[in-house]
Symmetry: none
Subunit: 143 residues, 2 copies
DNA sequence: TGGCCGCCCATACTTAAGGGTGATTTAATG
DNA sequence: CATTAAATCACCCTTAAGTATGGGCGGCCA
């Protein structure tokens, strides 16, 4: 968390630095102020979009919903003791997503996903994600 | 779609206009260029965040939508250019074995398996073994 | 209300996986 | 015979995955 904040801070600092750099290099060449401003605006818009994507889409706006194609696996899932969240992770894992991608999709941290996967491996009695996928298929945990 | 793009274009135009407005109002007051730039940067960062939010909240990670052509294994395997050995590795990989375990089972070294898997990933156009398994299933490379 | 559980997050560490490059051997093939 | 492809293996380096541990928070329940 703190690391993330720090990272953003540093990133912005670097950006400001680059800004000044560009400023000197371009201004001495008599480039128009308008052009320079446009550049800055564009650059920071891009940065804004990026950070916006990273930050604002967190926590809320989570309507994955679905919950359609299931019925008989619920019992199996419950029997093994896999929680709802863990099941979500399992599904995404089976789709070939990396932990990081799963974390992004569920709007949680990488560490959280690692915890979930670890617990999953314990409950499925496997050691690797590929085995987990196989085991889940064998147990017909997927619709 | 086009309407959205147009909308954003117009919005940005307006913003640029406001920019110029602010520019004149502040520059005549002898405000420092740095301050002005900072303001612009901040403003457009905010705009970026906003647009980012709008974009990400709507878009929702399109499903693979690949739906590649599908026949059956032998032909498919040859078509993609997967060699016999690579196919063996792929099968074992799909069973959830680690590279080391595959190496042991085929009586070759770990590095060899790594080479095979790398080539497989290239040919299957994936980045991870879990994806490779998924892709192989989609393409019905398995009996 | 105290305890359990699910969920989230973090730090620190170890191991597995993957990328890039280069090299050798063998078998097939024009 | 020279070329080509498959298969084998090695070294280095980066990133992802997995393990261990601990803390915080909110809901549920006996």
């Amino acid at each position: 968390m703190w690391r993330t904040i720090l990272l953003y801070g540093v990133s912005f600092a670097i950006l400001i630095f680059l800004l000044k750099l560009i400023e000197y290099r371009f201004l001495v060449r008599d480039l128009s102020l308008e052009f320079y401003l446009g550049l800055v605006a564009l650059l920071f818009t891009a940065v804004g979009v990026w950070t916006g994507k990273k930050i604002t889409s967190k926590k809320f706006v989570t309507p994955p919903a679905t919950t359609a194609p299931r019925k008989h696996n619920e019992g199996q899932v419950a029997k093994i003791g896999i929680s709802k969240r863990e099941y979500e992770v399992l599904l995404l894992m089976a789709k070939g997503l990396s932990n990081q991608e799963i974390a992004d999709q569920l709007h949680v941290s990488l560490n959280t996903i690692k915890t979930h996967t670890s617990n999953l491996f314990l409950k499925l009695e496997v050691k690797r994600r590929t085995q987990a996928i196989q085991k889940a298929k064998d147990l017909e945990l997927f619709g």
